[in-house]
Every structure is written in C-alpha cells, then in structure tokens.
C-alpha cells in the first residue's frame, strides 16, 4: 500500500497569503497537487498548519483525502513530514503542496525503483516527490522534529531516479530563488574548528569539498564549512598504500603517474570519463565518496580496490562498510587509501553521451589474494558481487565456460532498476556482457 503525504503546514510568508489556495485553471494549487499523486496512492494525507481551516474547506469532497493538523508546524517542514508519517501506513510519497505539476511518469518511475529511499532527478538536480518505504518511514520518525529531510537523506543510500520532468524541480519558492541560500560562510583554519562547528549544529552545517555537485543537492544551508585549507589535495605513496587527500581533484587523478600500476589504473580510467576536464577540476575524490552518489563512476573502482577511508575522528573505515552504514555523527574525511597489491584491473562504463551519467559500470580487480567484482550505476549505489567473487577465489581451473557461469551469478545476485536511461532487463544483459569481458581480460583468456 502506498500513501501520499502532502506538506501544507507553512505560513507562506513570501507570498503573504495562503499560496496553496491560489487558483489555476479553476482549481487551487493544492487540489492540483493532490490530483497529481492520487492515481498512484490509496489515500492522501494533507498535513496542514497555519491555514488548517481553509485547507480543510478547500479539499472538501475529495475522495480518499484526509487533512490532519500539525500542532508543531512552526518548527518547520520536517515536523509536518513526521506528522504525516505518523498518520500513514505503508510506503509513502512525500510532496510539498505547492508542487502541482509532477508528471504521472515520474510517480511510475519512482514506484519501479528498488531502494528504500528514492528521489527523482532531472537536469542533474534533485526534485519532488520523495519515495520512502514503510521501514524507512519508521526510522524517519525516530529523528528529532528539528531535523530535516536533507540530513535524513544523507544518512541513507538514496536511489536517484532520473526522469524527464522539470516540474519536479519547481515549487513556488524555488521560482523566486536563483542563488543558494547561505547564512554564514566559514573557511576553517583547523580540522578541530570544522569538527566543532559540524557537531555544534549538525543540521544547519554543511561541509563542502569540491562543490561540483552542490547545486544538485543543496538549496539552503545555515553554515557552509570550507575545508580547502586543512584537507590535503595531493597523491603520494607511503609504504604499501597510495594516499589520496580528500580534496584531490578528479583531474589530478587522471594525470597522476602514481596510479599507473596494477589494478589502480581503473581509478584513472573511471575518473577520466566523469563529465569534462572543467568539472573534474572541481570534483574531488572526497566529495565523490561522501555524497554516496548512486550515479558515481568513482565509487565502484574504489570498492574494487578495497579503499580505506581515513576520518578525522573515527580513523580508518572500509569504504564498503561506510557505504552501508547510517550514522548521525559528523566527521571529516581526510584521505582515501588504496592498498598497492600486484594484480590487474578492468573498468568499463557505458554512457549514451560523454557528459551523461553511466547506464552501467563494471569494475574488476584480480590480485594473487582475491578477485573483486563491482557493478555500479545499477542505477542504485554500487555493489560487490560476493558470491561470484567467492566462486572465483575458490576455483582451481578457470576457463571460459566457468567465467560465463561467474558472470551469470554476478548479475543474478545484484538487483537492477529501471530509469530514464535504461530498463532493469537491459542493464542486466549489458552487465553480464561486460563482467564476462572483464573477467576474460584479467584472466588473459
């Protein structure tokens, strides 16, 4: 069962009147929003606040629509989200009341996703509505009402569902805004200063790395913390590890000769296909990792290379563990470490155009100790194919039919999803081809 939660608790301070009551083609904006989501849900919960009575009157007579009052509407939108979740059961769509023109195909694409948390994206920007499973909704209710959806989203792997629908980007406020809203900019001189600020106000603070994807994710932030003076941006070898400072740009990675050896070369290959040199000069490895972006071409090779993340307070954490965890505490990524192990690597990403996100990516690293297979852009976050890896690691004789079997298992054990770029079925078929091609290459067959 899916329900729609429509957030209508605000005071409309910008317009000075109940903007949801404004009429468009004979109906209020709020009624348009309700009608857009209605075909995809069993019922709609409208969470009202300041204009509760007006809203109740406005939606009178609409079937399967319930208006609830959020007593805490003045503490912000997140309290309305939680009120709606408390009154709902099952999976939910969450949509602001002033976002009336989302296309039916967007709701369908979100329903076809696989991750517990899904957000639509168009023109490289996140939009509305958010889809959340019942299980995740329960976690959302455990958050303090002063939290926000952005912070909640950052704690969980998000499936970015690409849609051809610009309406997801525009609520009535964003039409008025052209710049990011930042109350305070803080260029820190020490890591402690950054850490202190982040933990003093974990909800309002945002730590910026390269900033290449900031427009995609952030519209409003209380304190922007800039760590460019305290986090390194160079690549060096120490002992048996390559150390990449978290502020190292993807373009530095593309041109580094320190990554020309063994499987490490797949990181260079992956970095070289991220957009264009201009963007790669901005995008950093730290930002690519901390964003946990499902579309990332950088995370899959790092997973295949068994990357270790070095945090200011927590110390070393395996990338694989980091991608799965849901932590609330704030920390600063300092370095990404890559073990130097003799071996070979394979990377391939399939894109429609050079500047697009990948349809699928395959990263394979073979060393004397183990084999690692990672499938990225599924389109959810990259995953290792653990059963296939085990089969390879235990094999005495490796021939072509065996590798074919391994490729089939690899593509059966991970889920594929459908978005505007490709269907799940297509992704699965293509992934099989590239996994097999990669395995043959690393085994010299």
């Amino acid at each position: 069962m899916v329900q729609g939660i429509i957030l209508a608790g605000g005071k409309s301070t910008r317009t000075g009147q109940n903007k949801l009551a404004l009429s468009f083609h004979g109906q209020s904006i709020l009624r348009h929003t309700i009608l857009s989501v209605a075909p995809f849900v069993h019922s709609v919960i409208v969470v009202a606040g300041h204009y509760y009575e007006d809203i109740k009157k406005d939606v009178e007579g609409m079937k399967h629509v319930h208006v609830v009052y959020n007593e805490m509407y003045e503490s912000g939108m997140f309290s309305s989200v939680q009120k709606g979740l408390r009154c709902s059961s099952g999976d939910v769509f969450i949509l602001p009341g002033d976002c009336p023109f989302v296309l039916p195909s967007t709701f369908t694409s979100l329903l076809n996703g696989t991750a517990p948390l899904r957000v639509p994206s168009c023109l490289n920007r996140f939009g509305h509505p958010m889809f959340m499973t019942e299980e995740l909704a329960k976690l959302c209710l455990q958050e303090p009402p002063t939290s926000n959806l952005r912070q909640f989203r950052q704690m969980h792997p998000v499936e970015i569902v690409e849609v051809m629908d610009e309406a997801i980007l525009h609520d009535m406020d964003t039409l008025e805004r052209s710049i990011m809203k930042i109350n305070e900019y803080l260029r820190v001189k020490t890591l402690e200063e950054a850490h202190h600020q982040m933990n003093q106000d974990p909800i309002g603070s945002y730590l910026i790395a390269g900033g290449a994807w900031t427009k995609l994710t952030i519209k409003e932030v209380k304190t922007l913390i800039d760590v460019q003076d305290v986090v390194k941006n160079h690549i060096e070898i120490k002992g048996h590890m390559v150390h990449l400072g978290a502020m190292t740009s993807l373009e530095q990675i593309v041109h580094s000769t320190l990554l020309d050896y063994h499987g490490l070369v797949i990181l260079k290959q992956a970095a070289s296909i991220v957009m264009a040199p201009g963007v790669r000069n901005l995008a950093t490895i730290g930002g690519s990792v901390m964003g946990k972006y499902a579309f990332s071409d950088i995370i899959p090779p790092l997973l295949a290379l068994h990357a270790i993340l070095v945090f200011h307070k927590r110390g070393n954490v395996w990338l694989q563990d980091f991608l799965q965890e849901q932590r609330k505490d704030q920390d600063i990524l300092l370095e990404v470490l890559l073990p130097i192990v003799p071996g070979v690597g394979y990377f391939h990403a399939m894109k429609k155009t050079a500047l697009d996100f990948s349809i699928i990516s395959v990263s394979i690293v073979k060393t004397n100790q183990r084999n690692t297979i990672v499938i990225g852009s599924r389109p959810s976050i990259a995953l290792r194919c653990l059963q296939a890896e085990q089969l390879l690691n235990e094999a005495d004789i490796v021939d072509e039919p065996f590798l074919e079997e391994v490729a089939n298992i690899a593509c059966s054990e991970v889920d594929f999803g459908t978005n505007v770029r490709a269907s799940a079925e297509y992704r699965k078929q293509i992934a099989k081809v590239y996994v097999l091609r990669g395995l043959k290459e690393v085994y010299g067959l």
Partner: protein
C-alpha cells in the same frame, strides 16, 4: 561579503552574497563574455580559468576563491584574436555564443598539452558544446592554432 580576486591579473574586490556563484558575480560586474548557459556544468559556455585550470563558473561559489586568479577571454586578448582568426579562416564560427569559452579552453589546452593529438583535443573540449558548427571546422582551426609556433 568582500572577496578579493585577481581578475585578468588585476586585483579587484567583489561584494558578494555567500551563496553567489562566480558566473553571477562576473556578469554582475559586466564581464559579459562569460555566458549563462545550462548552469549545471554541462555546456561549458561559462568556463573561465581558475589559476591555470578550466572550470565552469556556474558551479563555483565566489566566496571560496579569495586570493585566486581568474582569467576570462578579456585577459588573453592577443591569443584570443589569434584563435578567432583561425576560427574565421576555417568557417568555424556562427552565432559566436560558445566562442569566448571555447577560446579559453583552446588556450588552456595549448599550455597544458601543445602536442595534443586529435583524440586529446576532442577529450579536452568535450565539455564545450557548440550548437551551430558540428565541430569539424573548429577541430581544424584548433589544430592550426596548436601548430602555430608564434
């Protein structure tokens, strides 16, 4: 907030909102060669040089650039004229909207990789879109500029 930048080698103080992007700052201060295109890092018409690296100015917050060097096509006047001349000779110029950023990109390529191969030229300029020409004539013009020893 006040931010001090070296714009085309000249020290200048800009009064900016912390959330303002470099593209908006430059255009507000009448540097109109930096064009507003997709504003999502995809089209390249807003490209400028940050120190010696090409970046999309639509996605960099001005406030983070304190003390840095920004170069627009106005700062490479002589080289830009040379590039424009090759573009003209090869018929690589139509509406001209992408030209300032394209000239900066080509100038930057010559500094970083003067012996660039055909493939390297294409890879370097992949983020500078042109909706008029189809790139073939531009490619020829760029090759001639790279081969120009002057």
């Amino acid at each position: 907030m006040k931010v001090e930048l070296y714009l085309n080698q000249k020290k200048q103080v800009f009064d900016v909102d912390p959330g303002e992007y470099l593209l908006d700052t430059l255009r507000r201060y009448d540097i109109l060669s930096v064009k507003r295109g997709c504003e999502q890092t995809s089209c390249g018409v807003c490209s400028v040089l940050l120190d010696s690296d090409m970046i999309p100015s639509c996605s960099v917050l001005t406030v983070r650039l304190q003390g840095r060097h920004i170069t627009t096509v106005e700062g490479i006047e002589e080289e830009a004229a040379k590039i424009a001349s090759y573009f003209g000779q090869e018929g690589a110029d139509q509406c001209g909207f992408c030209n300032p950023a394209m000239a900066l990109a080509v100038y930057s390529l010559k500094h970083k990789n003067p012996q660039a191969t055909d493939l390297e030229i294409k890879e370097y300029l992949v983020g500078n879109l042109c909706r008029c020409t189809g790139y073939q004539s531009q490619h020829l013009a760029i090759k001639r500029y790279l081969e120009d020893p002057s």
